[in-house]
Structure formats: structure tokens, C-alpha cells
């Protein structure tokens, strides 16, 4: 099993940066590197955040992407 090359993003700097990241992850899905999953357990249990889960196909690792909502700046992190 390959290791996952993705890195955690604890904080996006702006909404435009976040949008660029969303475009990138969408490309990953289209190219088959990643696949989108259903959100099984929301970030800190909060359903008010917009959130998507992705699985890195080669490594099998699952990640979450949480949309920013000021003052929260969004996050991309592996799901434990």
C-alpha cells in the first residue's frame, strides 16, 4: 500500500485560496486519484459546517474538507 502524499491544511488564508484547493481536489476525483465518500461523522459533530470526505485511492486513507465560515478558516485533515 502506498503512502498518501496529501498534507493537512489546518488553516486556509482566504476564500480564494480555499476555492483553488476545491478545484484541485475535484481534479483528483476526476482523474481517479481520489473518490468522494459520504460524510459519516461530521467535524466535531457539527452539522452546520459544509463538509466533504475524500478517499485517497492508492493509500486508502480518508480525508475531510470543511468549508470555512468566518471566523473559522476551514480545514483539510485525515479522518481518524
Amino acid at each position: 500500500m502506498k503512502t498518501c502524499p496529501w498534507e493537512k491544511i489546518n488553516e486556509f488564508q482566504s476564500y480564494s485560496e480555499f476555492e483553488r484547493f476545491v478545484s484541485w481536489i475535484d481534479e483528483q476525483v476526476k482523474s481517479g486519484v481520489a473518490e468522494e465518500l459520504l460524510v459519516r461523522k461530521p467535524y466535531i459533530g457539527a452539522t452546520t459546517f459544509r463538509e466533504k470526505w475524500y478517499r485517497h485511492v492508492a493509500s486508502g486513507k480518508t480525508w475531510r474538507l470543511v468549508w470555512p465560515d468566518g471566523p473559522f478558516t476551514g480545514i483539510f485533515e485525515p479522518v481518524d
Binding site: N10, E11, Q13, S14, Y15, S16, I44, G45, A46, T47, T48, F49, R50, P68, D69, G70, P71, F72, T73, I75
Partner: protein, 233 residues
């Protein structure tokens, strides 16, 4: 002999008839005399011992004593109230206090407000969300009554989200300063939505932390779950 019997029988019938008539007249005159001219208390006092009150019997009719007759129907007189309105106002029945289930009451008592700060840990929100409160300090509490909250939105920000405030917004700029909404996140704060959070809802409340030159300092409430039905139009 036969004639004597007939005479005795006639005499008996006459006497008994006059007694009954006199008794009926007594009740009739009594009711007619009192009806509409005396108060209910006076009427009750006048007929005390002959009519049981509604509270005593639970029925409207009473039993006459002495003559062994029961009035076919007793009409209770209207109370005489010169200034009383003709129409009766019907007031709603007083609401009974809603008792909480023992489990719920116990749960509420156990779940009192908890203050979280850097000394006792980031708490249920975790470090990243705790940092959105000034000094990473906030209070976890359960609402005990309907609570009105406001949220400014517009641009990239949706109408519903996790961050709210108890303070009615005083304009987009003031909201951006108080809630430390940096322009790079695209919340134009041009619209305001208002919700009424029902009782027994967990919320996290504190003061908005400063961000990128915006001082914050406004009231800030984080709600993990918001129902669109809470919106007040």
C-alpha cells in the same frame, strides 16, 4: 252505606288535592318571588336545608322536604348584577406547568454551564474552534428558554451556519469588526437572519477573538446544529 263510602272518598280527595295544590303554590310562589330579584346567595340562604348546593350534590335538582314532593324542574335564577355585562367572557383554562421527565430534569441539572479555557483544555470544540473565541475561552451551556440569535451573511457566506450572536447587528461594518469577519473570507454581512433557538439546545458562547487587525470583541455563539425551521421571518 255505599253513599257514605262515596262521600268519604270525595272528602279525602278534596282535602288531599288542596294540600298538594297548596304545596305546589308554595314552591311556585317561592321560586317566582325570588327569581330575578335576589342574589344567588340570598336564594341559597332562603332555601337552605331544602336544596342541596351544586357542590354538595353535583346535580342541579334538589329534594323538597316535608311534603314528600319533588319539583319536576328547578330553574336556578340568574344572579342579579346590575352592572354585570350581558355576555360572559370565556377565559382560557390556566395552563398547567409542564413537568419535565425525571430523566430530562436530571440531565439538565447535570449539564450545567461549563466554562472552557486554556487551563482546563480546549473542550468539546477542539483547539481550532476554541481559538475563534477570545483567549480560547467559551462557555458550554444548554438553553433554558427560547433564545433569539442573529447572523450576518452575504457573498460567500450562507444564511445558516455555525456562528451567531445575541447582539442585533448595527450594520455590515460594525458586524465585521465585532465578529472579526475578515474581508478575504467573502462575508459581505449585508444580510441579517434571525433564529429562535428552542430550549434544551446546546450552544457555545463567548467573545469573538481578534483576527488580522479586526479587534472582535462582540458576542459570539457557536451552534453545532441549526434547524432551518428556527428562522424567524
Amino acid at each position: 252505606m255505599f253513599q257514605s263510602l262515596v262521600c268519604l272518598l270525595t272528602l279525602f280527595v278534596c282535602l288531599n288535592g288542596s294540600a298538594m295544590k297548596g304545596n305546589a303554590e308554595f314552591w311556585h310562589s317561592r321560586l317566582a318571588a325570588k327569581s330575578g330579584r335576589a342574589t344567588w346567595n340570598e336564594f341559597q340562604a332562603a332555601t337552605r336545608g331544602q336544596f342541596a348546593t351544586r357542590a354538595e350534590t353535583g346535580v342541579e335538582t334538589g329534594t323538597a322536604t316535608g311534603a314528600g314532593l319533588k319539583p319536576a324542574a328547578v330553574t336556578r335564577p340568574e344572579p342579579y348584577l346590575p352592572t354585570a355585562p350581558k355576555t360572559q367572557l370565556s377565559l382560557p383554562a390556566p395552563k398547567q406547568p409542564v413537568a419535565l421527565l425525571p430523566e430530562a430534569a436530571e440531565s439538565l441539572a447535570a449539564r450545567g454551564a461549563t466554562h472552557w479555557n486554556p487551563l482546563n483544555g480546549p473542550g468539546p470544540l477542539g483547539e481550532k474552534l476554541a481559538a475563534t473565541f477570545r483567549g480560547a475561552s467559551y462557555t458550554e451551556l444548554v438553553t433554558s428558554e427560547p433564545t433569539t440569535l442573529y447572523r450576518v451573511y452575504g457573498g460567500k457566506a450562507d444564511e445558516l451556519g455555525p456562528y451567531w450572536t445575541r447582539t442585533p447587528p448595527a450594520g455590515p461594518l460594525q458586524s465585521q469588526i465585532d465578529s472579526a469577519l475578515l474581508p478575504q473570507w467573502g462575508n459581505t454581512a449585508q444580510n441579517v437572519t434571525r433564529i429562535q433557538v428552542p430550549p434544551v439546545t446546546t450552544i457555545y458562547e463567548g467573545v469573538a477573538a481578534a483576527q488580522g487587525g479586526l479587534v472582535g470583541g462582540g458576542n459570539q455563539v457557536f451552534i453545532p446544529h441549526v434547524d432551518a425551521k428556527w428562522i424567524i421571518k
